[in-house]
Symmetry: D3
Subunit: 240 residues, 6 copies
């Protein structure tokens, strides 16, 4: 089985670390292909960047030359999943929803610790649309930008742990979701420090995608995600 | 005051009829500039087309060379409004929300009559995110595609009227929203036939945009729509 | 166009300042008529006073001798809008809903700063009924009574600013609504101090009412607000 | 214990039948006093009439010369309960909420059968505000006006039964609320015909009021229903 | 009228004090029978104990040899009410729902003060299912276990009062529910100290059960709580 | 990895077919152990049976003598998952939630086709508690009892297909969940006939459980599902 794990930004080192996390989570026999969009922002921390990512991810998936069995969109709180579901016949899993789903299986209420405060509403909106917000007790920001996450991993873990403890104490949170693709790989350190399960979206999405493929299930084509009607499209795909 | 009214698809005749509706609704002294994206689909009836529209609209607004006071995004149920709000300092109004707001001022419950069934979930999702879904009793489809709307206006009105009457009778709908930019201008005919107020999103959005400008109000920059952080963006804007 | 802007209490100076705000917001050619109920409380800060206001407003609108094009009910969180909508054929806009609508166009979440804590639940209830509560992150009280607002404007602004900053910081609020008709005119000072857009309900309602009139739209008469059935009414209208 | 059961309209025969139902439901030792407002409509079937009722009920309760232990507001879907709670120190129970509460104790979902379609939204709004709407699966109208209910009781029962059966069959309703004070006394006939429990709001409200009194509980005065602040009120109470 | 008031745990002294509270609330002529399950935990403070209680209560009610008119399940936040409703033809009232109902009649928002933090989610879940959560502003824990409640009543009252005051101040709570059957009898002391009405679930449930019986109402048998289908049951009832 | 797949009823043939479905879905190397409760009903179609199942499942899991890595509770709409989560340190997945989760990944709205109408509210309640109800557009019954499902598989498929088509057509459902453990294995036939993805809860739950185990995640022990406090339990476990 081959799963495309697509970064939402154009930073190759981030694609690499996401793909590494994906591989660590994948079952034997699953090939993980990390993809980086040909256009877009070096990190996604806002609305324009998120809409760019929606097309950047779609673009690089559509031009991928080999067959594949599923796609993981590896941006937390980003746009685009619906477009992939419509354009493809294989299952598509977004890491925001994947993390929320796995967290929901592990405790009564979960929380998300993310990067900058400005991205909190984007995450809240994605959870609301996915019908996964009821049991999310808090989405909080560390104040670290996406690209700062990798600069000082020890500090990064420390700040995440502090915020995680706070929402456990004040909001009844029982499970922590790492709210950024760039936090992949930090789950164990945060879990050790907090005593709560910590869910990584990339690992969760790979696991769900593998599961859907093994069950022979894919996106419904009866309505919302039916193939697009034939029509004139101007100037797309961008990178062809 | 100059308002950019941006079509979400690349069909120039549709931009023209939208701009005409906008002008009919505008106050004296308001200049309406109709814009057509440089890339995208001939009509928006799905998720990929909607995400394309999000960037197509943003792209043509950003390259517009003159000053302007507000932007109306003239696609019903389409993506992109958040990106415009972040990128611009002037107010942005989406016709989906504008129609729902005006309808909410006119009756206890409203309904939307749109084009194809596949676009219903997109409209529902936009209303949900905007916090405007509680009083929307029904979103229903005529089965006419966007480009069919103009082919036989009499038939178009007849089909909209039939669906409008049905949701008045069966769902307690008291106000009808025309759920497609391409339906602009049909409101009076549908109102005459149904006896219920009929709200056109383009007229509503122009009216709201003018109002915000006159009140000196624009998008908050304190969090979600703060200017994007400085960073490397690759391959954007597309049409520059 | 003539718009009746009706105060909900019997304090004439408050009607005057509300009408002044309304005039400042109105388009050229709009005549603003400020009305004061013939009965009711000197200020509305509770449930009995609010129900009194519902009839006081209706009473003075019904006996107004000249034609008019729209009505603005200028009480924040008060009862009565539904009665006006039923009794009249012209559009009716309540300032609570108008403020929430405009705020919703300007940011992801908004908040309301009002007078006394006891009026908070009334505002919450009106927003809930109007389907406008989802994006309201906080309704908070300054502790100033309605009539205290005008006594020391500098102090009033200072207290509003303090509460506004608090809900921006703690509740993710991005836009502030001034939650009392008596706060009309303070929006600019509060905006300057907080850096967030500040929405005045009176200006918003006048703007929306003008827009509805210009679009030729009025309250639906198909169900909830159909004209009352003919029947014996005893002792009403009170002031005839 | 003395309970004031206040009709919301000015039709004395309706007050009498409501009081009779109340007495049938009351415990031994409970004195039921039926009151009719001095002003208002002969029947409440709309928004103006409902706001009139809010004050008419308050007015006649405030001028009642003897001590009393609780008040039942006997209008289904009417305004006014909050004002009574603020003005009085004894418990106040509205029949709409009372019926919904009792119905909720008897089945998974309940429904309401009321008079005219135009009153359905008022009932839905009262249930929404009271936080009692989640388990209400349907509010439906018989098409009979309030005053028609008594003209041909057999027909009235037949029409209610037909609507009740429909919502049991189509909406999963398990318990029926009679949605009008004027339907008091029809519960047994409807229950026999449908096989479902039928809840009368007047009996329910008397029962709840008695219970609160016996438990020594009354309206909280800590915030929403604290006594009104001392201030000038002009022209009230109306009937003094 | 005979009402079975069933403790959810196996501590006889707790059954006794619950029954005493029930008797204090009951009308003259109502016989209260306190029952203790033959199996289960000495106190219910978690999920296994709650599921055990569901069957323990059912078991001891089914084997009760005399006729009875209603059942009160006297555990706050516990499972089991639906099973009783299905198995019995008489009304069943759960103290969690009863407290929330009575509190809802007394103020705009209510709160619950319970024992251990781990039981908070169980209470929240029961209120959610019952459709009674909208107006519950807070469920908070004292940190006292169920069996500690009786050890030092003065301390118990002090801790409850402290938490009650906190949620009045911080969450807009106007009415306090005592969130444990073992708190029965403390309502007056807490009310005196806080100035807010304090609702005891046992007294509330007895009152509601008496009311349903007097109105001749019982659980609907048309769907969810229809008698179980005839089938082979192995190993049940446990204690026969 | 060893997963216990526990039937909720005492019918061994049903355990066998559930285990067979589980094995078909499991990854190589996963051992599926089918368990049948020692007590309970031959089929679960109601509230008492569901509460019995909660303990029956817990009982047989607790006495299972070998180590295991996860538990799947194979009853659709049944009680008990919370108890297992508290009692065990390994992950627990309920098939109701698992089906809803997988369906949510495949379409905009999903629906459930179950057995008898009386079980619909139980399924709705489980989805509500799990926070998974927002995107569930319909839960409908075939009218076939659990044990009838296996009697005439062709008829069973035909009836499920008919109901599935109806909710696709009338409720916008895009994905079908088979709403009974006894429907395991019918997914492909229903999918072929309807053209929509069909989700089997048993396969979904096994897949999710495997995924959680592989990710090293298990139930949070910080609050709701912390180990029970040490205390006296009388008469439990039942079957020891």
């Amino acid at each position: 089985m081959r799963i495309l794990v697509v970064n939402v930004n154009t930073t190759q080192s981030m694609t690499d670390s996401i793909a590494e996390s994906a591989r660590a989570a994948a079952a034997p026999g699953t090939e993980i292909v990390g993809l980086t969009p040909a256009f877009g922002a070096a990190s996604c921390e806002g609305n324009v960047e998120s809409y760019l990512a929606a097309l950047g991810v779609l673009d690089c998936v559509l031009k991928y030359p080999e067959p594949f069995d599923a796609v993981v969109q590896a941006g937390f709180g980003e746009h685009g999943r619906e477009g992939l579901q419509e354009a493809l016949s294989v299952p598509v899993v977004d890491i925001t929803e994947a993390a929320a789903i796995m967290a929901g299986l592990l405790g009564h209420k979960f929380g998300v610790v993310t990067t900058l405060d400005r991205t909190v509403p984007l995450i809240e909106d994605r959870l609301l649309l996915a019908g996964l917000r009821q049991r999310c007790a808090a989405v909080v920001a560390t104040g670290l930008s996406v690209l700062e996450l990798e600069q000082d991993p020890a500090r990064t873990v420390a700040v995440i742990v502090e915020k995680a403890r706070q929402i456990v104490r004040e909001h009844g949170v029982e499970v922590i979701c790492l709210g950024c693709g760039g936090m992949a790989g930090l789950d164990e350190a945060v879990a050790r420090a907090t005593g709560a399960p910590v869910v990584d979206g990339v690992a969760s999405a790979v696991t769900l995608a593998e599961g859907l493929v093994r069950m022979g299930l894919s996106t419904s084509k009866v309505r919302t995600y039916a193939p697009a009607r034939q029509k004139q499209i101007r100037g797309w795909p961008f990178s062809s």
